[in-house]
Structure formats: C-alpha cells, structure tokens
C-alpha cells in the first residue's frame, strides 16, 4: 500500500500543478487536465490515432530489439578486450554527449524519408548507454568469480552463461532502462522532424493547427507508455532480488 501511495501522490501533485498552470497561463495554450483527458478519449476511439500509434510502436519495437541486442553484444566484446574497451570508452562517452539531433539530416540522407531513418535514429540514442553499462559491468566483474568458476572446473561456455551473464545482469538491466527510453526519444524526434505518420508527426501536425488538447493527450499517453516500460524493467530487476 505504501509503495503505491507515493507515486499516487506525485501524480496527484502533477495534475494540481498542471491545473494551476492552466489558470496562470492563457487558457488556449495550455488545456486543463480535464480537457486533455476528454481529448484522450476521443483519440482512443479514432482509428487514425491507432494507425499512427502502430507506426510509432513498430519503429520503437525494432529500435529497442536491435539496440538491446547490439548494445549487449558490443558491450561484451569491448569488455572482454581490455584494450578495446579502454580505447572505446572515451569515444562512446563523447558520442553519447553529442546532440544527435543535429545529425538527423545525415541519417535522413542515408536512410531516406521512410521508417528506417527513424529506427536508425532510435538506435543511435539507445545503443550507446547499454553498450557502456554492459562494458563496465564486465570490466568491474569481481575476478574471484572467474577464478571460482575455473576452480570448479567449468568450461568457458558454462562460465559465460552461468557466472558472467547473471553477474552483469543488474547493470545490463539498468542500461536497458536508459536505452529503451532514449530509443523512444529518438524515434519520436525522427517522426516530429521528417515524417508523414507516427505519433511524433501527429503532435507536430496538431501544434500547427493549434490543437493543444491533442498535443497534450498524445504526450500524456506516450509518457504513460514510457513509464510502463521503465516500470516493467524495474520489476524484472527486482524480481531477481531476494
């Protein structure tokens, strides 16, 4: 009960703050929570909304799968080769801090205006944090784990799957939580800047029409999906703990 109460209060406070802001700012530029919820109901019954949502979901899903698999594989590779890891880490950290949106025109030129550009942009956001987390997890692995595995006569495959993998899993899940939310960010930015479909496009289009309730309704729903994905991974992480 107590761990539900906290988040519930935060949500309530958020809505209150929103309501207050709605009265302070001109009404037309910031619709009230109530208007937003009404608009959400309208959208949820609109088949066009679902078409756009499925576009975003498709791009997001592929970006998540590819950046997760790629990030873990790359992280393991860089973590195993100590020199490779030492060379790669500063490069990755600097790449990560680049404002990637400035490179989006380049991505568009390479992948074209279709969905693949948005998937690529999502991966560009999500891949690096997961790679860094996985790599560091392997570099920080207690040497005694590997020595114990050797003493118990485990083969390299047994060591990899029954010792190293479970040992790095907590950090990999943390990296995945970051990676998944950044993937969503990448895909949405992609849709907002150069697309004719997807939820990102829907938001920009609604903004051009001055349809603020739609903008906020979509934003709230995307936030809910992002929080749900994060919560799911958090629950996965906690389920392994005693």
């Amino acid at each position: 009960m107590r761990h539900i109460l906290g988040p519930l209060l935060v949500i309530l406070a958020g809505f209150l703050g929103w309501e207050v802001l709605h009265f302070v700012v001109a009404n037309s530029s910031l619709p009230s929570p109530f208007e937003t919820i009404v608009q959400m109901g309208v959208l949820l019954r609109d088949p066009d909304f679902w078409k756009q949502a499925s576009q975003t979901g498709y791009a997001f899903g592929i970006a998540v799968v590819l950046s997760t698999l790629g990030g873990i594989a790359l992280g393991i590779l860089l973590g195993m080769g100590r020199l490779a890891g030492q060379v790669a880490e500063p490069i990755l950290v600097n790449l990560y801090s680049l404002p990637k949106v400035t490179l989006y025109p380049v991505v568009l030129l390479i992948f074209g205006l279709g969905i693949s550009a948005r998937i690529a942009f999502g991966i560009m956001h999500g891949l690096i944090p997961l790679t860094l987390f996985t790599m560091n997890a392997i570099l920080q692995l207690k040497p005694v784990y590997r020595r114990s595995a050797a003493v118990m006569g485990l083969t390299s495959w047994q060591t990899a799957f029954t010792v190293i993998l479970p040992a790095i899993l907590p950090q990999v899940i943390t990296g995945a939580r970051l990676g998944v939310s950044l993937c969503l960010l990448g895909v949405l930015i992609g849709e907002m800047f150069a697309a004719r479909n997807g939820l990102g496009y829907m938001v920009t289009h609604a903004m051009e029409r001055g349809d603020m309730p739609t903008v906020l309704a979509v934003a709230v729903m995307i936030a809910a999906v992002a929080l749900a994905a994060n919560g799911l991974l958090l629950a996965l992480d906690r389920s392994r703990q005693p």
Binding site: K142, V144, S148, M152, G153, L169, P242
Partner: protein, 274 residues
C-alpha cells in the same frame, strides 16, 4: 573417500600428496626483466596434514597457492599433485578465496550446489552432499537465504561449503578469514579444524595471522620477503583433535613468538621496500 582415489594414490609414496620442486614465478614479459615474485620454492605436502604458510605482504604466498591450484603455471620448476604434474585445475583440489566468492544471484543452497551440478553428478547425490555440507557448516536455517542477507562470516561458510561438496582431497585456502573480525576468525578456525579432521583432506592455509597459523597447523612454513622463499618450517606438535582453546597453552605463545622472530626482519624489509 572415493574409490577413484585409491588407484591414483597407490603408486604415490604415502607421505607426498602435493609437491613443488624449484618453483619460480616471474611476472612480466621476459625472464630477467619482470618481477620475480616467488621462489625457487620446494614444498612437500604430506597427505592429511594441515600446513600453513605465513609471510610478509607481497611475498608470493598467493602465487604459491595459484600454482598448486593450477590457476597459473610456474615460470620454472615443477608442481605435482598425487604424483601427476599440475596442468590446469586438478580434479580433487578445492580452493577458498579471501574475497567473498558467493554468487549474489543464487540462494545459499544453489550456491553450494553450483559446481557439483555442473560436474555430472546425479541429482540425488547432489542433494545428499549439499544437505550434508550445509548442515556441517551450520547453514541449515539459511539454505533459502541469499548472500546479501548474510554476514561476511556466513558468506565465507557458504564458499567453504561449496568447496566441501566437491569432496576435495587437497583444500587450498587463501587468507579465507582475512576480512572477518577476530572472534569470528577464531570460531571459523575451529570449523576448519573440524572439517579437516572429518574429511581427512590435506589443507594448505595461506594467512598473514601468525596466531592463526600457530593454532591451526601441523606445520607452518615461513616465507621471506619477495622473492618468496621458505626460510623456516616449524612443527607445532599439536594433537589432531585440537581446537581454539589451545591459545591458552604456553606452547601457543612460544610458537607465535618464534614465528614473529623469524618474520620480523622480513616484514621490515617489505615495509622499507614499499
């Protein structure tokens, strides 16, 4: 003891269980330019004895253990276990490390069973041995618990139990109680003596605690500062069924004083060298 042991042990003279001859270990790219960590060291471990190695920090005690465990090979010299040269981790050798090596993602029970489950032993036998080892190490009430819920001493018990289930004939311990408080260390020493008596295994204990070595061992090897050499081997003459109460025996004080006498100059060398 397993019947497999008898056939291996038969041609070996009973007194030699493991033997190091002229073992040297040099770290670094080429001989002569690297760090000379150990040796040349000769060591004969008698079957069933409790041998401790004491020495100043960085004298190569742990390197010696690594060579016996097959975790690193000597730069020069030979290492044998039960008459066969050590090449990789030999079957029948168990190691307990100083650091906490329990796996936090497994329960105590699964930690203890971990190595055994992957060694081709059938499930019923695994369950029997795990049950025994958990009971022996006093972990019965914690078998479903996770390492994070246990104290450092209890986690080290888990690691010892994990080694015990493999039924090692030679148990190597690398400062296993180094991270524990003094009272816990004395009690763990008792546990170790009980384990040694009941399993009949040969025990090699690496320690920096002179009192621990004096209390637990049949023989204590004193090592010099780097490169580590044995400068003395001391026979304690304790009866086999001893426990930590022998610390009140006058001989315990004499032994500890003798060890310190031998080690003082060597420890000073290390202190000045670093």
């Amino acid at each position: 003891m397993s019947p497999a042991l008898a056939s291996v042990a038969a041609p070996v003279p009973a007194e030699h269980h493991a033997r190091l001859t002229g073992v040297t270990r040099v770290f670094g790219a080429r001989k002569g330019t690297g760090v000379h960590a150990l040796g040349p060291v000769d060591l004969d471990l008698n079957r069933g004895e409790f041998f401790s190695v004491v020495g100043p920090s960085g004298c190569g005690k742990s390197t010696l253990l690594d060579v016996l465990a097959g975790l690193s090979s000597p730069t020069a010299g030979t290492a044998e276990f039960e008459g066969k040269p050590i090449n990789g981790v030999p079957a029948g050798v168990g190691v307990v490390f100083q650091e906490d090596a329990s796996f936090p993602w497994l329960s105590v029970e699964d930690n203890v069973a971990f190595g055994l489950r992957r060694s081709g032993v059938d499930a019923a036998e695994v369950a029997r041995r795990v049950d025994y080892a958990i009971g022996f190490m006093g972990l019965k009430d914690f078998s479903k618990a996770y390492p994070a819920q246990l104290s450092g001493g209890m986690r080290q018990r888990v690691c010892i139990a994990r080694t015990l289930v493999m039924q090692p004939r030679l148990i190597l311990l690398d400062e296993p109680f180094g991270a524990l408080d003094q009272q816990t260390r004395l009690l763990m020493g008792d546990e170790l003596l009980r384990l040694w008596r009941e399993t009949g295994a040969t025990v090699l204990l690496i320690t920096h605690a002179l009192d621990e070595a004096a209390m637990l061992s049949d023989r204590v090897g004193v090592m010099s500062a780097r490169p580590g050499l044995f400068i003395d081997v001391l026979e304690t003459g304790w009866p086999r069924d001893r426990d930590s109460r022998i610390v009140s025996h006058p001989r315990f004080g004499e032994l500890t004083a003798h060890l310190w006498d031998k080690l003082r100059a060597e420890s000073l060398k290390h202190l000045r060298g670093s």
